[in-house]
């Protein structure tokens, strides 16, 4: 039994190693890209818009409102980043009900990569809205004594974001494998369904936490 799809290697040539994580990440990306191209092909602002367009718009507006209510700021700037994270994690989790599909989020490599995006997005948005001097000043608040702790918390965030997502997705697949050996047929299905729910909640939480971290870096008075 493996606890990380990265240990399944399909093809190896020198330093290039095609693992199951990489392949299933590509599958997810391909699916999202094709779906995006198909859905945005016939956009219109007339009254007779298609069903897919109104579903798409409703989803985007919901995400926009969520980001707005969490960050208390104009959501337009953060929408592309946050919603991409959310949609990718959600799709990866939902696709894991397909037999043979290893969710790419069930690998520590993917989740660390995703949380590194957040790690770099925080200073990016922070410097963009405050300027580099004011952004760096935020680290020395409320007093200079807190400086090392603020820096440590930046790094512990990556670890906690990555391990939380990985642990949740991986735990479901491990429990399903164990149950398949003990009580086949019924219980693994229930756990798998429960896993989709957990995965969806984790996708939401990953996006919300990314929003919270970015919002705390971009707002001047609150301080991270």
């Amino acid at each position: 039994m493996s606890i990380d799809p990265s240990s399944i290697v399909y093809f190896e040539w020198g330093v290039v190693r095609i693992t199951a994580t990489l392949v299933f990440t590509w599958v997810t990306m391909l699916l999202l890209t094709v779906a995006g191209l198909l859905l945005t092909r016939n956009l219109t602002d007339e009254n007779n818009m298609s069903k897919s367009q109104s579903i798409l718009e409703a989803t985007l507006i919901t995400m926009k409102n969520q980001i707005k209510s969490v960050s208390q700021q104009d959501p337009g700037k953060y929408l592309p980043f946050i919603s991409t994270l959310f949609i990718f994690i959600l799709t990866a989790t939902i696709l894991s009900i397909i037999p043979g599909f290893h969710a790419p989020t069930g690998s520590l490599n993917t989740t660390i990569a995703l949380s590194l995006y957040v790690f770099f997005a925080v200073p990016f948005y922070g410097i963009q809205s405050l300027g580099i001097k004011n952004y760096l000043k935020e680290y020395a608040k409320p007093s200079v004594v807190m400086l090392p702790f603020n820096i440590i918390s930046e790094f512990s965030r990556i670890v906690s974001l990555a391990v939380r997502l990985y642990g949740n997705v991986m735990s479901t697949s491990v429990i399903v494998i164990i149950l398949l050996g003990v009580v086949p047929f019924f219980f693994p299905v229930v756990i798998q369904l429960f896993g989709i729910l957990t995965g969806a909640i984790q996708a939401y939480i990953f996006a919300i936490l990314a929003t919270v971290y970015i919002a705390s870096a971009t707002s001047e008075n609150q301080g991270g």
Binding site: M1, S2, I3, D4, S69, V70, S160, V163, R164, Y166, G167, N168, M170, S171, V174, I201, Q202, Y204, I205, I208, L209, V212
Partner: protein
């Protein structure tokens, strides 16, 4: 007992203990959080949306402590670094 037996035995015992002890505190914490949130929703049903959103985020934060323990015990069982060092 040779070192492989010792490492195997200690890893299995500690994996069980890690998840057993490590899930106590998050369980109590989550119970407290949910109880408090239900009380708040009962008092102010209008704020149910905000409260449940904050509750979910908070639960995930609390739960991650238990998830860390789970990851550690899985590493001890299936990807044990000491075991791999001995087996070469």
């Amino acid at each position: 007992m040779d070192s492989i037996t010792v490492i195997g035995m200690t890893s299995i015992v500690m994996a069980g203990l890690t998840i057993a002890i490590g899930s106590i505190a998050p369980a109590i914490g989550e119970g407290n959080a949910v109880a408090q949130a239900l009380r708040s929703i009962a008092q102010q049903p209008d704020e149910a949306n905000t409260i449940s959103r904050t509750l979910f985020v908070g639960l995930a934060m609390i739960e991650s402590t238990a998830i860390y323990c789970f990851v550690i015990s899985m590493i001890l069982l299936f990807a044990n670094p000491f075991w791999n060092a001995i087996m070469g």
